[in-house]
């Protein structure tokens, strides 16, 4: 692999609790038009986009073949379109593979999800469990996270106070992000006093219901100059699947993330992840997951998360300047939201929350109950 893959442009709409006034096709179309506007990219068969990778989910869209509905809004009319039905980090990675394979030189990635239109997140994620053991127990992603939070916090020395600091900081950072979901600022005390929804997870420990759409244009190294003066390079990727039954896993740690990270660092040629990144976006639908993923991605020593939060390292290491998943992105799109922030930071387009001289960043995504599947991407300027 001598080639690098370029991210030429990114587009997004604002994260909102309920985009009742627009269909998801319209949300995708906005991103599509923004990408075309920024880059002048065409969709002709010779030099245009012939391949689109989408990210969405049939269950959350309540729609068989959810990508069918956005086909023309994504420019896929008489073009190739393939859907990655996992966290969006894998959609980016699949686009990357399509380019590195030589089969494509220009790929548009789009993702959409309206969590607001589902009757219940609990119902959708209960359906991710097998009908014999998991579903009758009432498991959903929240209860799986509850079990994991217990197992992890005990081992890692992470307390409720630590989680309160994570949540309060997420809201602070998101307030600087014009595309972030607009949430009320909360104090650590508010978090500590918010109602328990699945012991030990409190309501403010969980990401809120959010609607969002996103687009990115990727291409080969040699064509990047056609679309941007400011490309960001996608240089590393790794992902990994964990075992299915929660009881088969040591929930207090994530070997899947450890392996995904190792694979990604190996591809990007990174020796020490503790010092390699100027910006790190970890996908944290639940507050306890931010320190947990930081440990498993090798950013901090295993078991040191509590002390790490106390020492103010989240700020020092530039973790989740976007506000993270905790502030609100729809499920499925977490990895794309994380990647988008890293790209903006590396391009120097992050506005008030810009990290100075950021040259290398990590973006992470996860799918399934208690992070059964993880993906890690490395971006460089």
């Amino acid at each position: 692999m001598n080639q690098r893959v370029a991210v030429c442009a990114v587009a997004q709409i604002k994260n909102e609790p309920d985009i009742w006034y627009k269909r998801f096709q319209g949300m995708v179309l906005e991103c599509f038009e923004s990408i075309v506007g920024q880059t002048g990219v065409t969709f002709d068969m010779e030099k245009g986009v012939r391949s689109i990778v989408s990210c969405s989910d049939d269950v959350f869209d309540a729609r068989t073949i959810s990508d069918n509905a956005i086909n023309d809004a994504a420019g896929a009319y008489f073009r190739g379109e393939e859907k990655s039905a996992q966290d969006g980090a894998n959609a980016l990675a699949y686009a990357m593979a399509s380019i590195l394979s030589g089969h494509d030189d220009l790929v548009l990635v789009v993702g959409h999800c309206k969590e607001s239109q589902t009757e219940s997140r609990r119902m959708c994620t209960n359906l991710a469990f097998d009908p014999f053991y998991g579903r009758p127990l009432g498991l959903d992603y929240l209860s799986a996270a509850g079990l994991q939070a217990r197992a992890y916090m005990k081992n890692a020395g992470v307390s409720e106070e630590h989680l309160a600091a994570v949540v309060a900081r997420s809201r602070e950072k998101a307030a600087l992000n014009p595309f972030a979901r607009e949430n009320e600022a909360v104090t650590e005390k508010d978090v500590l006093q918010s109602p328990l929804i699945c012991d030990p997870i409190r309501s403010l420990h969980q990401y809120p219901v959010t609607d969002w759409a996103v687009g990115m244009l990727l291409c080969t190294e040699e064509r990047a100059h056609e679309f941007t003066d400011n490309p960001v390079w996608l240089t590393g990727f790794g992902n990994c699947m964990d075992s299915y039954f929660l009881g088969d896993r040591d929930l207090s740690t994530s070997t899947a993330l450890q392996r995904a990270a190792r694979r990604s660092y190996a591809m990007a040629g990174i020796d020490d992840p503790k010092t390699a990144f100027d910006v790190i976006e970890l996908n944290d639908p639940y507050a306890y997951q931010l320190p947990m993923w930081a440990e498993n991605a090798g950013i901090i020593p295993e078991g040191g998360a509590g002390k790490w939060i106390d020492a103010g390292a989240m700020a020092a290491r530039h973790i989740n300047p976007s506000g993270g998943m905790l502030n609100g992105n729809p499920i499925m799109l977490g990895g794309l939201a994380r990647s988008l922030e890293v790209v903006l930071q590396l391009r120097g387009e992050a506005g008030e929350r810009q990290i100075e001289n950021a040259t290398r960043g990590l973006a992470h995504g996860n799918t399934g109950p208690a992070g059964q599947h993880h993906a890690v991407l490395v971006f460089e300027k």
């Binding site: 073949i65 008489f78 379109e81 593979a97 590195l100 359906l127 097998d130 992902n239 699947m241 399934g368």
Partner: protein
Amino acid sequence: MGYRQKNRHVGIVGIGETKFSSHREDVNQPEMVHEAVRQALDDAGLTINDIDCVVHGNMELFEMVHQPDMWHTLGTGAYGKSSFRLTTGGTTGGTLVSGADNLVASGMYDVVLAIGFEKLQEGHTTGGITNMADPLWARKLQSGALTAQAAVKVIAEFGEERARRAAMAYRIIMDKHACKNPNAHRAFHLEWDQMEDLMENSPPLIGDLRLIHMCSQSDGACAIIFASEKKAKEISSKPVWVRDHITVHREETLNLHNNYYPIDTTHRFAAEQLFGRNGIDNPLEYFDVFEMYDPSAWWGVDWLREFFLLEGDEHIRMVENRDIMIDGKMPINPSGGVISTNPIGATAIIRVAEAAKQIRGDAGEHQIPRNVEHGLASSFGGTMWTVLHILEKELNW
């Protein structure tokens, strides 16, 4: 620049298909998936430890399992491995092959296992398909995959008698092929002298689409192992090479593009593009086998013309002359095709698996009785979506 050559060649080194039937009640979903994976590994002489990456796909709303690759890890063997989940409706199986091809050719993975499955008995297939249609203005009109559009079109062009006979001849040929395939779901042992009776008395579904014309609703899984050229040659004495693939979708929700491509079907457009860039001038002459995603006999007849870029009644004559039979000039679906077996998320990957088996020459009783070097496999899905794959016996293009 347009289309470019892949950065490295990719070969098929292992194939596994379950027994297909209407009710695989003897297995749950991961067990059924495991059956195909086990077979593919045995076929390749590999163990699960040799697999770098697993690509999984189906249509979630058929079985109502959200992100089923999580649970299916028990059957796919994806634990500890890289994995992707790609789904595009009926074309899912084809997308899995394109995806595996891309993932191996990219250099990111050397050995990739692709798995398509469906267990349609556990859901409501027609309800699932109907749910694809736009809830505001199309869902109340959609009748699952049941449509007589192709029948109306073929009848309008060639007259009732000739069109109906062609569709039923196609159907009987597919059944004769299915009878040779031990995995096939439906194999009725139809005889040519039943033609008039079936044309008259098979229960009508919609218009001229009758029950006998329509594909089945099946349970089953199919797994294929793909490897880089170097690995493929080490693993297999007869790898089948994936030469090229193309995906062409269309679905008008917002009517943004209607002025641009008013004429072609996605099948014809895909075939023109794919054959053009691979220098295949006469596909009918070039290919030795075509495994077509043919959800009904009417579509099967009509689409022959599209895929082979034919004009006039050439496609009807292919059926009338029985050129499409296993020992004919252009064998179509020696496996029995989709009308006999349709576990939707697996259906399109089965097309590639079956074409590859024909090229390897080990398809068993439904092996085409002459040398097969060039294979074509199609996938169909959504409203009018196409994925096409060219498979080759030799690395010489």
